[in-house]
Symmetry: D3
């Protein structure tokens, strides 16, 4: 269940994530049968976007560029796809019009992955795909430590746009529904002007630990991640990575960009800095290919997914 060689990619006109085997999506029980430890699922949904749409196209483009990513992680010193069994579970088939159905379907498919004992890697789509994924993961693992990379707090209410469940609200719901363990929301990269002085009050009131970009710039990402790691300990952990946490120079392909974000190196180090944590799943959201240039954002996204998979491999290898 490892990567195919590059010739396969040339030969086979179609491209699964990282040249991995594909699961038969008609039968998710195949996950367990195949001994899958990680399953990548695309969610072509951008119906929760408030500004520039386009994230619905990310799963296809990320698959395409992920073909360039090899198997061995030189910093961790580990053969990622030789250590864990990963596969491409296809996309969650969603109508572009029905947010409730999307949430239901994503929750069901992520639940099938975790039921098979595998870690889901959800490739959005916009950030509203994260909530059902967190629900399924928390249903299995209990309240989670959540590492949340983003320019925005994503704890808006329904007041602004007349909707409770768009891409600016998943973390509010996750906190309100008890999906996050006490004091275990770690928000990194937040920045930009707020709507008011109490924008972060909800998150803070729920014990969130907020690292605005200024704090990261000042203290360094390694130091920050050491603190995050220590606070998480052995808790089951979910990484929800909104690509707009990264500066538009490195990740232009996103719909609500905010200047002054993470560099690509900081972003990669951020995920790498979770080494040792018990990762139970990850989502990567808000990549909007129509706004990208030279696949820059997609290549970075594929690297971030690889870093996430490497965390799984590393923990397995270390026992």
């Amino acid at each position: 269940m490892s990567q195919q060689p590059a010739a396969h990619y040339l030969r086979h006109g179609q491209i699964p994530f990282f040249r991995l085997p594909c699961a038969s999506f008609a039968d998710p029980s195949a996950y367990a049968g195949a001994g899958a430890e990680a399953v990548l699922l695309g969610v072509p949904w951008d119906g929760g976007t408030t500004y520039q749409p386009g994230a619905r196209l990310a799963p296809w483009e990320l698959r395409r560029v992920s073909a360039l990513v090899q198997r061995f992680h030189p910093v961790h010193g580990i053969d990622v796809f030789g250590t864990i069994a990963a596969l491409d579970g296809g996309n969650v088939a969603v109508s572009p019009f029905d947010a409730a159905a999307m949430r239901e379907r994503v929750e069901a498919e992520v639940a099938a992955v975790v039921a098979a004992g595998a870690a889901p890697f959800v490739v959005g789509g916009d950030h509203s795909v994260a909530l059902p994924a967190l629900r399924a993961a928390a249903a299995r693992h209990g309240p989670l430590a959540v590492v949340h990379v983003d320019a925005h707090s994503d704890t808006s209410t329904g007041d602004l746009w007349g909707d409770e469940f768009h891409h600016g609200t998943p973390l509010r719901h996750a906190l309100a529904e008890g999906l996050v363990a006490e004091g275990q929301l770690h928000q990194l990269g937040l920045r930009g002007a707020w709507g008011g002085a109490d924008d972060f009050a909800f998150a803070s009131g729920h014990g969130a630990r907020i690292f605005p970009i200024e704090a990261i710039a000042e203290r360094g990402i390694a130091f920050v991640m050491a603190e995050v790691r220590e606070r998480i300990g052995e808790r089951p952990t979910w990484l929800t990575f909104d690509v707009d946490g990264i500066d538009p120079a490195f990740a232009p392909g996103t719909g609500t960009p905010v200047p002054g974000g993470l560099t690509s190196r900081e972003a990669l180090h951020l995920v790498r800095g979770l080494a040792g944590v018990r990762l139970v799943g990850m989502d990567l959201v808000e990549i909007a290919p129509p706004l990208d240039h030279a696949d820059m954002t997609c290549h970075l996204g594929a690297s971030l997914l690889f870093e996430g998979l490497a965390l799984l491999a590393l923990r397995k290898a270390r026992g």
Copy 2:
């Protein structure tokens, strides 16, 4: 002197269409007070898009480029903005998430325009904004003659995407709801592969007159429009213009392009060919600025709106 709320930004389109005066959107009765004969309304909605989104941004971009359009129509020989009183009614403020609310709001705002005795010019947004506009117009004028320019028939059922009201269905509803007068749906520019042999059966069964692109290419747009004009006679007429009726070379900025469409000259002549018809309103939809190049599609869209306004002026001038 502080910021307006975000909804204001949605509502107030600014840089007015064609440098026209703006109506105070707080008070649509101002339309009548101002003696408006045409009111342009933007609808920044693309929640009904099945493939590439982005049409929500069209009202702003069309306003911007429309500033280049002057007032005198040399072919008709008429000073359009000197003949009819036109104004920019702003945008219909819609949440990007709630299709039912969008339809309700567009219908109400278009109804306010027609109630004031003016012709609405609705600038989408995707094609799902046309249905509520047609509802409001038909409520006022009775069943309409509808001239429908498009690559697609837009008479899909809800089967394909699990939704009855996306951008592929407005004409089905218009026919089913009796908004179109008997035998008065005129579809121009249709082309491309169909899903099955009976794709046009619904429209044909309702008496639609279909001019696929091959018919237009063979007979010439002037000849075709003469036939359309004759069949319409004095009926109140609505023009619903999906920009993908035009070839992608001339209108690349659209989400579901189909090769082989109208040229820009044919498109302009098509609208011009309705001279004499009793136009009661128009919508221009499916312009997706993020996919445009050098504002080409937006410039063409502004010209098409000007052609539509010229029809009003011409009819008034001719008595």
Copy 3:
């Protein structure tokens, strides 16, 4: 062996040509087993490009946009994918550096398709992929009628670039090797300045019938195709379509553009105008996605392939 429904495309992260079934490329004999009548093969090769490269990426991008093409051809009135068994045979795996190996491999794979009784549809890549395809087809069917759409004659010698087999020479070799039946090279769309007065002498000397763009513009594509059809009669026919035969406005994504070419409608009518001809294969070459805008050239390319497949279906349906 027909198209999958659109939901499949959403669900399955990967995209075969026209949502068709894929052949196991490990076993080309599967073609016959599956009763395939048409097999699409990608050739990601642009090692024969003299100016702007990039055509190597076309097979992936054409697969992606071909997902939007439905099954029923309304002008011919035929359900293409319901009439013929078509499948995606994957890509011919070629090293980007070895032209001789590419030619050998393409010839072998196309030979496997024709050996199975199916018609190959070769999706380049640059025009140098056409020669080995023609060799395999002629080996099976004898000298062919060849319909060649292009801005260039492609009968250069090796003098210019010191190589006999680049993208400007395939037709010279095809003529010299006797792959083309006497007087059965039909060249359409040629234009632009020549290197000298005898640029077309080689082709003419071999009995080629040349329709420069001026002739097509003057006489009309329908008239021209009627003549081509009549001259071909019942001969086995290969269509080699270089997308630069089309004007850059409609097909910007190509490496050696020449202004003044076919419109998209003429290009579609050109292929359609071969209705009734005994088509034994087709290649579509020189689409360079990095130079495309809004997938315009790719969408047109997918439509041209569909038109080619429709010719097969039509002939089968008519007996």
Copy 4:
């Protein structure tokens, strides 16, 4: 003084127009010494642009793509660069800030070309470079027949922008200064809304013959050019070609686009339709490379220049 072979272009890092020899600009008398019959001059000036600038960059980009144009014109059947001695005279060095100095300098350099008995081919830059070129040509040849291709009449007054000499006024000055022979302004491609009913009154009052795009579409470019040719007779003729006469689909790289213009084929036929006329010079203006896509407009521009040069060669060959 003919073209260099393609290898020269590869070898020599820099690229003169059409791979022609370069004149030493320090000594324009070299024109005569070299027996030059045509001299190409770039004018990197866009200080007269009212909307989107960028035309200052055209001379470099047109040189680059002109390297692809070969020497033999197959429709006229003439070896253009083998028949006339053409050379690249470099750019007219202009400060981007001083319009008066630009006009003075262009007039002087064009005068040097005509003094040497050669025909100037001026590559703008915006349309304000045409006036000084016309002045120099008329000073030599007397009042000229002027063929003016454009979307705009370019006979504005200084009222609109507070300046008499921007890119919307060159033809007004040419008429007012008597540079145009009585009744010998031929304007082709005009279209779009006017500022008022008398926009063309000035030109008409000076006997201009106006062919709006509708007339060309209806009568055909061949018929129109026959009429133009006949009216010109043996008069010395200048062709001033504003690329926005062409539709934005074919020529997106321009600063004030107007939908509905000439196709690329019509544009090429237009110039070709001047065969036999006594051409004494040409300018090609308003190509704005930053707005172009895939060099489409630049390639078309290079072809139009080649068509102009072919007119010279043809007349010489025919004696």
Copy 5:
């Protein structure tokens, strides 16, 4: 209810900056009446550009993206738009051809703003708009401390381009005219090759303090700004921010880019580092939207303006 003249379009920027109220530009005395403390003025001028033009379009695009900026500055902990009264004063209507008129008009309008007791925020346009703004500000406040962010020294003479007042000379004039207080020109971000060893001699001779990018990289922006702040003390201060001070990766939309500049975080920190300074005005120049990607430069520009406005609010709040 007819069209406004074209000058209106130039004048009235619409979509107001940061969704602020608009001043009636017919009556600048309204500034004082409204108690304005900050007035944003667009200057759509790029007639002083030596390389790639396009900055004339920045005021419209910056207004558009500024709609996304909220009101509360979390680092300073201040409600910016709730603390100071800011409004959009529209554009300074300038002909694109008359640099002297532009300078006169900008000086007059900025003078009106400062006369009303408000701080002008001038949004260019190219850097030549800064000189008249500095003149008006110094006329009111006396010689200023000037913080100048740029890749270039902007102290060129008229020798190079034959003009004294283009975008490479504003600081020379400001120094020569005594607009800058003794030793109070602070230049940050300078880099790239010079024309000669004494390029900075003029500035240095006038007591300028130059922080080339290497100094900023080595010492850190916080340290540098502390030094700047200390040297400025309580002097009235103007911030002139040329966006090419920032690296092209973060600000590609500019006409004379120089690699190796400020990061977006450094740029934001630079402005933030002026906290406490007595800012009397700011200009932001050289954003060229046609060269931008995904609005990256415009978003950053809007953030920099917000940072400047926050300085005003902060000083007011602190008394």
Copy 6:
């Protein structure tokens, strides 16, 4: 043999590297005659590219943007083009199809440069142009110290693509052929996933000193370069700079991008950090202009070449 003034650039339509004099490529012995100390050679070759091609176009685009680079290096305090005699040697004319001929020709031309006592600056083209350049340099100077900036190790075998000499193998050959002095391969910027645990074994086995990006980020480029400088000592040194060593945000125009690379400032400092080293030549490769945005990568490339030339000047000035 110094730079021409900017007016020359305006005047002369064509643009040599840095506005330098051009060598007559017919006679390389002219190099010595002219006393050349540095010769810039373009190599328009991308036939060794494994993913996205386009690097063949770099020599033209780099010449164009290099016109903006001035002569004085302010950090080193040296007038580069006043200190050393540099000239533009034109392009090495290569067929795009024959890799062996390219290597032979590049080696011969670089040999001619070194034979004349000048340092070659080779502007690719893809990285396969480096091997013949290194051969020619080592033939003259003996085994070299090689500073290799890259995302990739470029020590692949022929296994992957069936070819020994593509753009992923030059360093393997250089090591195997003894072109590199013992322990004198310094690789900087390497990163991304490997194909296996022993990817760097070949290089390490040959004594290469590898500085992956993580080491540079942690230790700082200045520290790293001090170490490199010390290890090199007085050895003749070649700098081979693959632009993909830089992060895609700063250098998007390249065919095999890897996220997380050098910043533009680090890249410039890297070359600058070689001050004092005995540089005998440099190549700059893998810039693919079709993938660039706003010439960002080309501007950075021109700056890197200037930094390399400054090293020569500095060493000469210091004696």
